[in-house]
């Protein structure tokens, strides 16, 4: 096991390197000059050149990359063009909110998706199965922003049961447990919107695995042995069908972070996604790059964890 983890870690080294290169390249390609915002007509060309040289903007790209990388390694993500705020502090402020949202959506995807998939498989080719299949297909087909707007229209505007955006009730200023409840109340709609297509993916995947497993010889053996249907489904089939679902753990992470961009901007959820959208409008490429770097690293970590879990669950992978 330790050898397998070590092997996967070594494999990720070039990937981490690639992630930093691509993040850096995206910022280097960005149009505009970082100094443009600060230049006023009274400054002479010589002074501009001098400050360019002082900031290292005239160095070859690999020198700039190395300098940037060593700062990033020390946890310095740079400063915004406007206001000179620490990007690290800005992101740190938003990070927990995105984690709350994506984690809830993550839990919801599996808590709902797996039972739907299992139900579809054990009632294969019945009306229930067709209904669930169409539901899953609609779930992956509906644009998340359209679904988000529909949900706001239905639950906030027509029924008025959930707030249409934000994370806390600004007017009430709750504290303690009431605040937690308030956040949960605001969380429900965005979490549903963010998880819908993931629920659909998880249920489709679970269904097809379960269908395959139910055809296996050991299921027939269990049946021949006279085991009850429930015991066969939940003890023998379900456990084996769940193993490949672990791969969806890893795949869900980039998917949910992507979705957070849209969901957060529709629901004004104060997370990294809405920060990113704002950064794009303000042309704050430093923030965009930092967000790319952070999420890509999280995704890599998530995939690594999923692979290790898979190896724990299925010893054949280790060899």
């Amino acid at each position: 096991m330790a050898r397998y983890i070590l092997k996967r870690l070594i494999q990720s080294i070039p990937v981490v390197f690639g992630i930093t290169v691509l993040s850096f390249a995206i910022m280097k390609f960005a149009p505009g000059d970082p100094l443009a915002n600060f230049i006023d007509p009274t400054i002479s060309m010589e002074d501009i050149e001098a400050s360019r040289a002082a900031l290292g903007l005239n160095d070859p790209w690999y020198v700039q990359y190395a300098g940037w990388l060593s700062e990033v390694a020390r946890g310095n993500l740079g400063y915004t063009y406007a206001g000179n705020h620490s990007i690290r502090a800005l992101i740190a402020q938003r990070f927990p909110n995105t984690i709350i949202l994506t984690l809830s959506a993550f839990v919801l995807s599996f808590a709902v998706g797996v039972p739907i998939g299992v139900m579809g498989a054990i009632r294969k080719n019945t009306r229930t199965d067709y209904g669930l299949t169409v539901f899953s297909l609609v779930g992956v087909s509906i644009p998340s922003f359209f679904f988000g707007l529909l949900v706001i229209y239905l639950f906030s505007i027509l029924l008025g049961v959930f707030p249409s955006g934000g994370m806390v009730n600004m007017r009430a200023r709750y504290t303690g447990f009431a605040r937690t409840l308030d956040i949960a109340h605001h969380l429900i709609l965005p979490a549903i919107v963010l998880s819908l297509s993931n629920i659909a993916t998880v249920s489709r995947f679970t269904r097809s695995n379960m269908v395959d497993v139910l055809k296996e010889d050991y299921i027939r053996t269990a049946r021949a042995k006279g085991l009850r249907r429930k015991a066969i489904i939940y003890k023998h089939a379900f456990r084996n069908a769940l193993i490949p679902v672990i791969t969806i753990f890893g795949l869900s992470i980039p998917f949910l972070f992507s979705g957070a961009y849209i969901t957060e901007s529709i629901f004004n959820w104060p997370g990294m996604g809405s920060l990113g959208i704002q950064a794009i409008q303000d042309r704050e490429y430093g923030i965009v790059m930092a967000l790319n770097l952070i999420t890509a690293s999280l995704v890599l970590l998530g995939n690594l964890t999923a692979d290790v879990l898979y190896a724990v669950a299925d010893p054949r992978i280790r060899h």
Partner: protein, 292 residues
């Protein structure tokens, strides 16, 4: 190519299974209808996509007009016909999705074939590059590329192609690794066939089926990606209509609350087209799967 469809060949049988699948045919019909609308948009509507209409006073624009006999789906924030923009939006969506998938399929298939067939260091390098691209959440990467290169139709195509080729590359590589082990490849080698000939004559026809399924899934996802980018304002730009950018206005609560004709139609057609393509893809997958 015709050889592939000889009677009772793999592709002939698959084609017959496909035609029997009701959902797949529904999917094919939906997709065909949208392609038809995209091609014949100028004939289907008397208006232009960016044509402004004046209110009865003849001075102000006929903004946010509810559905009527002149404008079946009403008008938008600038007094343009919503139905006309939905029709022309189909053009943009289909051109973007098809071109992006064409790029990603060609690049992905070549990378997958090379990595799988030659293996070794080439395979390792190519697959690590795939790992890097896959590590970025799709939308982050799309948004970064699209904003930095100034959003336009072809940049959106390029961006979607750039994030999508990796899936095809992984799929094709896996298939090639599997097929390479089979006896008929050793037989071809034994007969002295050169590598290019083995790839073209023996491997490509065998990876075609999963690649076709991947093309349909990829097209559906490309439609969604384009719509999302345009909705976020970094995709197709006004005045060009796109189903995604037609929904931007619905983020204003007045439009969302009072003017469903502005945002329900473009959202619904996106859902329908993507659903149709997925039905098609599911049908293809089942048709190609001999276990079914």
């Amino acid at each position: 190519m015709m050889q592939l469809f000889q009677r009772n060949s793999f592709y002939d049988l698959a084609q017959r299974r496909f035609v029997r699948n009701r959902l797949a045919i529904i999917g094919a019909v939906i997709t065909a209808v949208f392609v038809f609308i995209a091609i014949f948009a100028p004939i289907l509507t008397p208006y232009g996509p960016s044509e402004f209409f004046f209110a009865e006073d003849g001075v102000t624009y006929n903004r946010y007009a509810p559905p009527s006999s002149d404008h079946w789906l009403g008008t938008d924030s600038l007094g343009r016909d919503v139905l006309t923009r939905v029709f022309y939006g189909a053009r943009v969506t289909i051109v973007v999705a098809f071109s992006a998938v064409l790029i990603s399929t060609i690049v992905g298939t070549i990378v997958g074939l090379v990595a799988g067939f030659f293996g070794g260091i080439i395979d390792s390098i190519l697959m690590r590059i795939v790992d890097v691209v896959i590590s970025f959440p799709v939308l982050f990467l799309l948004i970064s590329i699209s904003t930095i290169l100034e959003p336009s139709l072809w940049i959106v195509v390029f961006a979607i192609g750039f994030v999508r080729w990796t899936n095809t590359a992984r799929l094709v590589r896996g298939e090639v690794l599997r097929i390479k082990q089979l006896d008929f490849i050793s037989a071809a080698r034994g007969c002295g066939s050169p590598s290019p000939k083995i790839i073209i004559r023996h491997i490509i026809p065998n990876v075609l089926a999963p690649v076709m399924v991947q093309i349909t899934i990829g097209t559906a996802q490309a439609v969604l990606m384009e719509a999302s980018l345009s909705f976020l304002g970094v995709g197709i730009q006004q005045p060009t209509p796109s189903w995604g950018n037609m929904l931007i206005d619905a983020q204003r609560s007045l439009v969302l609350r009072e003017m469903p004709w502005i945002w329900i139609p473009p959202g619904t057609v996106t859902l329908l087209l993507v659903l149709g393509i997925y039905f098609l893809g599911d049908g293809l997958r089942d048709a190609f799967d001999p276990k079914q």
